[in-house]
Symmetry: C2
Subunit: 460 residues, 2 copies
């Protein structure tokens, strides 16, 4: 029994259930704060994650909490909104129910915004060897692998093994891949420069592998070209038109011009492919909605599912084809945010018996960062920037978008510090280390053993 519910039993307000507290879901919830509805926001996690900066956690310049904000504290003063932390396991559209682990919840309107993750193109066995970057746990795992690689390189005595530890392969030259490659290059060339005694971190080789003909495929050729140059300038080795055909913990197999060769490496990071939340297919099964190969749900012009006007799918999960210029709409934050605001308006206008709005995506352009003072920005028409100016724009815009003033302050402070000192103070190797194999040999340590051994003699 719950008082707040008993009180409402006679005139229960329209209940909007939102699945996912990302850009789309959170925006929808906020946009409904003045609406005559009861909002229930369901998320697996208790926080909203600012995805665009996740790679900075994965590379040790920011802490997880700096780019996260507890959903409850964001929404604590929105009295018509309730948060539930839990997993959605299915849908019952005919009874207007969302099925959760151990319970179910009724909705009048449903907004599904569970996002997307990376796809291994049917090679899920690669995941263990080549983690992707989507969650906080992914980020701390990748962080541990990057920094452990240098630690183990320092421990190896065989130069060949050292070299393997110092090979880094990033798969996929989209924004995330480019950001990761740039950051790892900077770690090797700057952050760790003075930290090792036996190896030199600057000998690390960072490979960015892309199946397509250019980096940042969705950008104009001149900006891609500029991004490529900026990557090469900071020491990233870019391999275009190159497929990955196999990945293990000790090598990757690359295919270029039909010719395969094996590159020994202990650190592979996955930044390719997209795959919608499995909730997309679950929903499609029940509603007959169309899903494409990556599992995105095809939606109507008002973001609802054909035949189910009370069910909306928005953000990275949705395949929106009703835009004359961009079809389908890209899986980026601005689309998610605008769709979130839009469906909130649709629901409100229905309740108020007003004519519904129509969705029009406003494209403000796109930008990607490459590294220190390196970025590209395409603001449409003739507004194209690269290098320092684009980077400053990137910094500013991302700064302002971070939820909570406190985090903006902390991020600004740490960026300033990082810019001046090259230091990456959040480079903790944490979590279970079961994924990280030990160095093959550590005779390096017995080099000074008093009992005469070949490996001994060296240092005595």
């Amino acid at each position: 029994m719950n008082d707040s519910l008993i009180l409402r039993q006679n005139n229960r307000p329209h209940r909007v259930v939102i699945i996912g507290g990302g850009f789309a879901g959170l925006k929808a919830a906020r946009a409904l704060r003045k609406a005559p509805v009861e909002v229930v926001l369901i998320d697996k996690r208790n926080f909203h994650l600012f995805q665009p900066l996740l790679y900075q956690v994965a590379t040790g310049s920011l802490s997880p909490a700096n780019i996260s904000a507890p959903l409850r504290s964001i929404l604590s003063h929105q009295k018509n909104c309730r948060c539930i932390m839990g997993n959605v396991t299915g849908f019952d559209p005919d009874n207007k129910m969302v099925i959760m682990d151990g319970g179910q919840i009724y909705y009048d309107s449903l907004i599904v915004a569970a996002g997307a993750s990376h796809s291994y193109f049917g090679h899920n066995e690669w995941e263990e060897a080549a983690p992707g970057l989507k969650t906080i746990e992914d980020a701390t795992e990748i962080r541990a692998r990057i920094y452990s690689a240098f630690e183990f390189a320092e421990r190896e005595s065989d130069p060949a093994d050292t070299a393997e530890w110092l090979n880094f392969v990033i798969v996929g030259a989209g924004p995330t891949g480019v950001e990761l490659a740039g950051a790892v290059a900077e770690i090797a060339r700057n952050s760790l420069k003075h930290d090792f005694r036996r190896i030199s971190s600057t000998h690390a080789k960072i490979y960015l592998v892309e199946a397509g003909p250019k980096v940042l495929g969705m950008y104009t050729d001149d900006l891609s070209e500029s991004a490529l140059k900026q990557l090469q300038k900071i020491g990233v080795i870019v391999r275009l038109n190159t497929m990955v055909t196999d990945i293990t913990r000790s090598y990757v197999t690359l295919k270029h011009d039909g010719q395969e060769d094996r590159m020994p490496t202990r650190t592979v990071l996955w930044a390719a492919g997209v795959q919608a939340s499995p909730l997309g297919r679950l929903l499609a099964e029940k509603t007959g909605a169309k899903v494409d190969r990556p599992g995105l749900v095809e939606v109507a012009a008002d973001c609802s599912i054909p035949g189910y006007p009370d069910i909306f799918v928005i953000g990275d999960m949705a395949r929106y084809l009703h835009d004359e210029k961009l079809k389908p709409l890209p899986g980026v934050a601005p689309v998610a945010v605008q769709q979130g605001t839009f469906v909130a308006k649709v629901i409100t206008s229905r309740i108020q018996k007003k004519s519904p709005p129509t969705f029009k995506y406003k494209d403000y352009g796109k930008m990607a960062t490459i590294g220190r003072a390196a970025a590209v920005a395409d603001l449409g028409k003739n507004l194209k920037f690269s290098g320092f100016l684009a980077w400053m724009m990137w910094l500013f815009i991302h700064m302002m978008e971070i939820v909570s003033f406190r985090n903006r302050l902390l991020v600004l402070l740490q960026w300033g510090w990082h810019y001046l000192s090259y230091d990456r103070a959040a480079r903790l190797i944490t979590g279970d280390d079961t994924h990280t194999p030990l160095p093959k040999t550590q005779v390096a340590h017995s080099e000074a053993a008093p009992t005469p051994q070949p490996s001994t003699v060296v240092s005595r």
Copy 2:
């Protein structure tokens, strides 16, 4: 083959191997920076952890990186020091070798400072149900349990289950237990006050259970009394002279005056007992050194092991009985730091054929914090403080002790923020959730199911 070693082969310097990068080991390494020695610092982790503030990570006011500093960056400019990340698995004192996972390393002098952890007094089966606070992983696990408990309480529909989730039991009223209890009380009463809709976080009950007759047992009676009052003032229920006889994921059994009773709770935090690193016993087996029940190694007046003048044990691992006032010396940071400096002097003076110094512990007193504006400080003689003044002293001293200016700045900023807003922005529920059981029931969610059910009718 390693050049740096080949170059040194003819006049190899005296090698000091240090195990552990905590207060004791790190201090010893720093104190040897000008000595004519080669320092090798071995640690399982790649960072130095500022233990005294770990409870603030466990309660969501600081991020792990704020209280950690990468060992390599602390030591990056100390050219005579090399860091190795790895596990020590044994000792070979006769050949002066430290055995590591997959390798071994020779030492001329050995400093063992691997620290201590909590002890379950033979009930290791309690660990899963009642995690202790020693590592970053412990802290994020405890953080997840505390905040998950409120999340699950919100999901329960049965008031009895809700109450179970809102019972928090902290075992052990030493400094850590007192800090944790105070922080959890503040979370419930302030940080989460506006965040929930069905429950009120202020209804949470925080129990601090202590087997002894007072809190902060090592303090004077008046300060313990004051700490008790301050705890009660912020709503902590203190149970003295109370033993814990059983712990599961759903209850603890408490014994008071020979009478046992069961308290239902889903969140138990362990802050009792001390247990030295297992390396203590391993070392004792090889050297015949004495170890006490918790595994602390009894050391000579110069912190060496009787019969092995080149092996030193310092910090929480050492049992030092040669102090006339305090015997044995307590397992606190100041002892560790002073012993680290001392053994560095001993080693240097031996190399320089000077007469060795003698160790004299300088006791500057002790302080413990209880919560916002609540603490106790005992600076010896008549210098005893409690409440706000003690708290300010505690804040200041801990601020200044944190390694790296950057972290001092970040911590100061977040403390200031936290003090003004009561907000705890680092309250992320991360990591695998296998430890956290689901709410028993979630009919709360089907309260609005259209199919008539008792639980349904309520809200329609």
